[in-house]
Symmetry: C2
Subunit: 354 residues, 2 copies
């Protein structure tokens, strides 16, 4: 990877200091340890008192609900590993430059989330016939697009009723940490992370498509300000590699002792199982199939891949790419859009074998 | 804070994506939750098998030791809150620009570390008369300054024998997470974080001042490449403020509703207790004393401060500065050095009261 022609401003750096990615060597862990899972927080982490907390369910429902954390914990519970990726992952590698949280390519993580299925809570509230969308409101507040707003995202009633959608209160066997939405967050497996609203305060049933900032002005694939564009939804496939050998501190380029190396990484898609992962050591000219292993249960978690590389002295550009069972494949070059979303171009790792 | 005239390269951004800071609103927590504490990792997080782990103690000792984690846990244990800051905190605000991990100003955190005092292990090994320094070698390996090296730092025998220096195996009541040095790290209260070697593999007693890369080429206050400079040691005083009101997403500038606000933050120094914290709302022209509260036990943890601000509509630049009992005080403007270390110039927060 050569250095970007478009450098990063201090504004972007301040975001990068807060919203950290997953160090690539953490691809070794099937479940990402807390603190290594990526984080994207639009505003501030709110201070929420879990003992006084209530989840409000209102709008077009027969019986509005107000549930404490204990009441949510008493409901049927499931625990499931879910791979989650930021929709802006890969943004900093786009040209022309897109100014926002400047992710390189490791804004991802897999956690074991425990919670109660959303559909049970919706069924208890009883949806009125006019209800078509479910709006999720976080307890975080700030300014974006020159207006004050709470963080809000919606799902169609059909998507909200999918059995895998959770109201989660535990991550990796512990109560949610503050930065991951304590005490309760939405988890929508398969979708980019903006959908999984943290610090969830309110669920509101509405009778029309929700037109909040994060649906209308943000998280859309647009070519220009005039372009309405398509909404960002499920994760496109991506394979990542834990870079082999040892890093040079400043450039993160790799120095690799000669010999056989088992390259390893993980791959995921929100559109179905990973069908194949391929590896190239020459920058993407020749590709060879990696071995795939589904080492975590559940359809929503990444798969491990390995590839034995006989590393002989020289300069290499290591790449990997995934294809999912729906036929989506990673491109060799980034595909630009105005918001810098869903850039799943293949990873490139510079390595010197000595 | 205006935008930096010197932007950040992709190399620096890759470091910033890995080595995250503490979001400033986390100043609300006396003990920083895991995952919000700052992290600086020179190379990769190594994969260390805690069950096979041994700490080796060798060099100029009467009885070399090889201790398992269980053997270390059976030794006398202490648990103490310690504030730790990266020596490069504030680097990205320096001019001329210094290219390295581009910290803004929140590379800090406070954890409760549990472990056994280093002095007990040293006493058991029995230092020979010629031993003058203690070299700590991490299990992480990489390249910096064009040579392959393990991460290594040393202390004088006198500093290593200080009772507060720990071999720590727990952080905030849990086994160390991988990114904080699992299964064992050194914790040297009062010193900048580079001293507290993570993934500690070996302790070696030597008969002369250690001349490793991170003592001779790095972590020194130098004005030029020819300047030998002084070593970076203990933390200079710093006060930080949790920015009031609500952030604008991209700039992190604050929008604050008019009315009384309790500004709050924390202050620390490695040279002694915090003597005073002062606040300015006009960019540093007029200062007023904040209230100080030592809400955590132990001499090595930060102190909380509060200041009631009657916010009326207008534009403000909020600042805070700390002075320690040794007489060290934060400067209004950064003091430059070649490595970009110990820039403890006062924090400046742009706020609009509306």
């Amino acid at each position: 990877m050569s250095d970007s022609p478009t450098p990063i401003s201090l504004d972007e750096l301040r975001l990068a200091a807060r919203n950290h990615a997953m160090p690539l060597e953490a691809l070794r862990y099937p479940v990402t340890p807390v603190g290594l899972h990526y984080l994207l927080i639009h505003f501030d982490i709110p201070a929420v008192d879990a003992t006084a907390y209530r989840l409000e369910v209102d709008g077009l429902v027969g019986s509005p609900l107000s549930l404490s954390l204990d009441e949510l914990r008493e409901r049927p519970a499931v625990e499931v590993p879910v791979t989650m990726e930021c929709a802006g992952n890969g943004r900093a590698l786009l040209e022309p430059h897109v100014a926002s949280q400047p992710w390189v390519l490791e804004a991802v993580g897999t956690a074991t989330w425990r919670g109660t299925p959303l559909r049970g809570v919706l069924a208890e509230a009883g949806l009125l016939d006019e209800a078509v969308e479910v709006v999720f409101t976080g307890l975080d507040h700030g300014f974006e697009g020159e207006e004050g707003l709470d963080y809000q995202r919606s799902l169609s009633v059909m998507d909200a009723y999918r059995p895998e959608v959770l109201l989660a209160y535990e991550m990796n066997g512990q109560p949610l940490p503050p930065q991951h939405g304590s005490p309760l967050r939405l988890v929508v497996p398969g979708w980019y992370g903006m959908t999984s609203v943290k610090w969830l305060g309110r669920i509101t049933l509405v009778d029309r498509p929700f037109d909040g900032y994060y649906h209308v002005s943000s998280y859309r694939l647009r070519q220009s300000e005039d372009d309405v564009g398509e909404p960002v939804t499920r994760m496109l496939p991506r394979a990542l590699m834990a870079p082999p050998g040892y890093p040079e501190y400043m450039t993160r380029a790799r120095i690799v002792p000669a010999g056989p190396w088992v390259l390893e990484g993980r791959a995921w898609s929100g559109w179905g199982d990973i069908d194949s992962v391929e590896v190239s050591v020459d920058g993407g000219r020749i590709w060879a199939a990696a071995d795939l292993e589904r080492d975590l249960g559940g359809p929503a978690a990444w798969s491990r891949w390995t590839f034995t590389w006989e590393a002989s002295p020289g300069e290499y550009e290591l790449c990997c790419r995934a294809r999912d069972e729906a036929g989506n494949e990673q491109p060799l070059e980034p595909v630009w859009n105005l918001g810098g979303y869903v850039n799943n171009a293949v990873q490139r790792v510079s390595a010197t074998v000595a």
